[in-house]
Amino acid sequence: MSEPTTALRLDVYKTYKLFVGGKFPRSESGRVYEVTDRKTGEWLANAPQGTRKDTRDAVSAARKAFGGWSGATAYNRGQILYRAAEMLQGRRDQYVAEVALSEGLTAKKAAPLVDAAVDRLVWYAGWTDKVAQIAGNANPVAGPYFNLSTPEPTGVVGVVAPQGGTGFSLLGLVSVLAPVIATGNTAVVALAPGAPLPGLSLGEVLATSDLPGGVVNLISGRTEDIAPTLASHADVNALDLAGVVAEEGPASARDLEVAAAETLKRVLRPESASHDWTTAPGTDRLLTFLETKTVWHPMGM
C-alpha cells in the first residue's frame, strides 16, 4: 500500500540545554541567545543563556559530586573516561558537523579535530591510575617515620573553556576538562559563548558514559556572567582561565584572579588565544589541580 512520497520530511531540531548535575535543564532565566555559523553568520541554534544562578547551581552539583568522584578508584575513573571516548567516537559525525560550524571549517578539516578529541580522552583515561605514581613520593626522612606524599584532587574547579585556537570548540574543551576530572576534581565549565554547541553536546556523551551527575557541569552564556561567579564563589577551589580573552572588566584574567584571591583559589592563567590544541598536552594540566598530601607515621615495634 506504500506510495512514493514526495512530502518534505522536516528534520528534528535539537534543543540545546545546559548540563548540570547530570541533568539537562534550561537556564533558570528562560533566556536563550542565538548561535550562528562562524563562517556565514547564519542562525544555527538557540543556546541557553546560563546565569549566575545557573552557575551557582552547577557549583552545588559539582561539590555534591566531589566526594564520590574523588573517592572513586582511579581505575574506575579511567574506565569512565574511556567510555566517554567510545561515546564520542560513536557520534563522530555529529561533532564533525558542530565543530565545522563552530570553528568555520570544512567537514574534512573538522574531522581530525574530533578524532583528536577522542584520542585525548583516551590519553587521559590512561592517566588516572598513573598520576599518583609520577606526582607522589616516598620521602626518606631522617627519622623512624614512614612518610608518603600523594596527590589529591583540589576540589571543584571552574573552567573557562577555550574561545580560540585550532580545535578550540571540542578538542580544546576536552583538553582542559579531561585532566581536571581525570584526577578526581569536579568541574563547572563556562563554555565558549560564540561556539557552545560542541560543548553542550558533549554533555550527551558524558551523560551516557557512567559519569556520575555533577562531575562535569556545562554552562553556556556570557563569560562575564559565569566566570566572575565562579571566581568569587567560596565553594570553588580552583580556576582554569584557559579561554579568558577579555583584556579588561570583570571577565578579564586580572579581575578574575583578584576575585579568586579572596579564598586563595588555585589559578591556571589563560592559554594563548591562538593556541594549537592539537599539540601534545604533556602533564602540565594534569598536575595543576592537585594538592600534595604528606602523611607521616612512626615506625616502631
Binding site: V141, D255, A260, V295, H297
Partner: protein, 478 residues
C-alpha cells in the same frame, strides 16, 4: 616547692656573637645603608631590651636589591648545577659550624627556647641546605621535564616564628634551581637573616645571588609588587597572602603561599594515650604555639575526653615557662607585644563565649611578653577560638563521637594545612588520612619536619609545597 628544683642552666648570651647597634641591608654582596632614614628596632621579647636598630627598606632600596638579583641571575643561572650545589653545601657546613651562635641569636631575637633553636631549628636549617644542594645538578631527574629552567628573581617574604628555618626553606630551593633572591625577614626577627648574609660571604657566594632587605610590611609590599621580579614566595598570614595574590593577578609572575592554619589533632579512644598527650602538647606548645601547622583544635572522642584532659593538665603542669636561654625552658616568650595582644584578645573572647579556661600555675617574668600555656574545654565549633588562628600557646578542645564526625569537624575550616590522628587502628588511620583535607597529616605523631618531606596547605592555607622534590617546582619554569 618541689623536691628536685632545677637550678638555672643558662646558655651563654655571648655565644650569639656581636650584635651591631644598627644594621643596613645586604645588597649585591655588601652591607649597605638604606636610602631612607627610617629605622626600626628589634627587641629581645623576653626582656624588651632593644637588641639593634635596622633599616626600614624603601622602594629605592627594593629597586637596588632587585637590580642586584637581576644582574646576578645571568651568571648564577648559567653556572653548572654542580657548582651551584657546592655553594649550598658550603653554606650548609658553615651553618653547622656556627649553629650554636645562630641558635643563641635566634632565641634572643625571637624569644623561643634555646632547646628548640638548638635541637630543632638549626639542625633543620643545615639539613635543608644540604638536601637542596644535592638537587642542583640533578634537576632534569626531578620529574619536571628534561630541561627545567629557573624562574628568575624570587621575592621572598618570611615570618617571625622560625626566622632562619623559613629563610632556609625559601633560599635553599631557589638557589639550587638557579634563581636569585631578594629576601625580607620579619620586622621583629631580622638578626639571623642578617647573620646569614655574613655566611653567604664566608661561602664566597657570588654577589647579588642573595640579597637581604629589612623592613616591615611596607617593604614587603614594595618587594612583592616590584615589576622586575619573576616570582613571589610568601609565608605568613592568610590576609597578607590574599593581598599578594591580588597584587600578582593578571601578571605572569609565579606565586607560592604558605599561610595560616587551624589544625585538628584528633584523638580516638584507642589512642596510645601517653604519646597522644605528648603530641597534643608538642602540637600546641612547641614554639609558644607560633606555628602555622599547630594542632590548635583538639578533637577528642567523647568517651575518653575526661581521661585525656586529666592527663593533659597533669602534663601541662610540668611545662617550664621562662628565660628562652635556659636550657630547661619549654616555653619561651611571645614574640611581640602585638602578638601577645592578639592572643589576649582571642582568649578573652573564648572566656566571654563560655569556654572553660585552664592554665597550670606558673610564674611569668615581669618584663617581656609572656603567656601561660592555656587550654579551653567546652569549646563549640562556633566559638572564635575554634575558628580563628590564635598563633599562641592556646588549645581549644572539642569532642566527637564517630570517625565521620571527627572528619567533618576537622575539615570544617577554611584552612587546610595539617592534621593529627591518634589511634592504634591502622585502617582507621589510612581512612582518616584520606578524608582529611590537609597538606600534612601526622598520624601518631605531630609537628615533624624534614627537608625531604613536602609541606604546604589545602584551601586558604595557601598553595605550592616547600620541601622535598615537590619543593623544586615553585622555582622551576617547566
Amino acid at each position: 616547692m618541689a623536691l628536685f628544683d632545677y637550678a638555672p642552666a643558662p646558655e651563654s648570651r655571648a655565644a650569639a656573637g656581636d650584635i651591631a647597634s644598627t644594621y643596613g641591608h645586604f645588597i649585591d654582596g655588601e652591607f649597605v645603608e638604606s636610602t631612607g632614614s627610617e629605622a626600626l628596632k628589634t627587641v629581645d621579647p623576653s626582656t624588651e631590651e632593644v637588641l639593634a636598630e635596622f633599616a626600614q627598606g624603601t622602594e629605592a632600596d627594593v629597586d637596588r636589591a632587585v637590580a642586584a638579583a637581576r644582574k646576578a641571575f645571568t651568571s648564577w643561572s648559567a653556572l653548572p648545577g654542580a657548582e651551584r650545589g657546592k655553594y649550598l653545601f658550603r653554606i650548609a657546613r658553615i651553618i653547622q659550624e656556627r649553629s650554636r651562635e645562630l641558635a643563641v641569636l635566634e632565641s634572643i631575637d625571637n624569644g623561643k627556647p634555646i632547646k628548640e633553636t638548638r635541637d630543632v631549628d638549626l639542625p633543620l636549617v643545615a639539613a635543608h641546605f644540604f638536601y637542596y644542594a644535592g638537587w642542583a645538578d640533578k634537576l632534569e631527574f626531578a620529574g619536571y621535564g628534561s630541561n627545567p629552567r629557573p624562574v628568575g628573581v624570587a621575592a621572598q617574604v618570611i615570618p617571625w616564628n622560625f626566622p632562619l628555618l623559613m629563610l632556609a626553606w625559601k633560599i635553599a630551593p631557589a638557589l639550587a634551581t638557579g634563581n636569585t633572591v631578594v629576601l625580607k625577614p620579619a620586622e621583629t626577627t631580622p638578626l639571623t637573616a642578617l647573620r646569614f648574609a655574613e655566611i653567604c660571604r664566608q661561602a664566597g657566594l657570588p654577589k647579588g645571588v642573595v640579597n637581604i632587605i629589612t623592613g616591615d610590611g611596607r617593604t614587603g609590599a614594595a618587594l612583592t609588587a616590584h615589576p622586575e621580579i619573576d616570582k613571589v614566595a610568601f609565608t605568613g598570614s592568610t590576609e597578607v597572602g590574599r593581598a599578594i595574590a591580588r597584587t600578582l593577578a593578571g601578571t605572569t609572575k609565579r606565586l607560592s603561599l604558605e599561610l595560616g592554619g587551624k589544625a585538628a589533632n584528633i584523638v580516638f579512644d584507642d589512642a596510645p594515650v601517653d604519646q597522644a598527650v605528648e603530641g597534643i602538647v608538642d602540637g600546641i606548645f612547641f614554639n609558644q604555639g607560633h606555628v602555622c601547622c599547630a594542632g590548635s583544635r583538639l578533637l577528642v572522642q567523647e568517651s575518653v575526653h575526661d581521661d585525656v584532659m586529666d592527663a593533659l593538665k597533669r602534663r601541662m603542669s610540668t611545662l617550664r615557662v621562662g628565660d628562652p636561654l635556659d636550657k630547661n625552658t619549654d616555653i619561651g616568650a611571645i614574640n611581640s607585644a602585638a602578638q601577645l595582644a592578639r592572643i589576649q584578645e582571642l582568649t578573652a573572647a573564648g572566656e566571654a563565649e563560655g569556654a572553660e579556661r585552664w592554665s597550670p600555675s606558673c610564674e611569668l617574668p615581669s618584663a617581656g611578653y609572656w603567656f601561660a600555656p592555656t587550654v579551653f574545654s567546652n569549646v563549640s565549633a562556633t566559638h572564635r577560638i575554634a575558628r580563628e588562628e590564635i598563633f599562641g600557646p592556646v588549645l581549644s578542645v572539642l569532642t566527637f563521637r564517630t570517625p565521620e564526625e571527627a572528619v567533618a569537624k576537622a575539615n570544617n575550616t577554611p584552612y587546610g594545612l595539617s592534621a593529627g590522628i591518634w589511634t592504634e587502628k591502622g585502617s582507621r588511620i589510612l581512612w582518616m588520612a584520606s578524608k582529611l583535607r590537609a597538606g600534612v597529616v601526622w598520624s601518631n605523631t605531630f609537628n615533624k619536619f624534614d627537608p625531604t618531606s613536602p609541606f604546604g596547605g589545602y584551601k586558604e592555607s595557601g598553595y605550592g609545597r616547600e620541601g622535598g622534590r615537590h619543593g623544586l617546582e615553585a622555582y622551576l619554569d617547566v
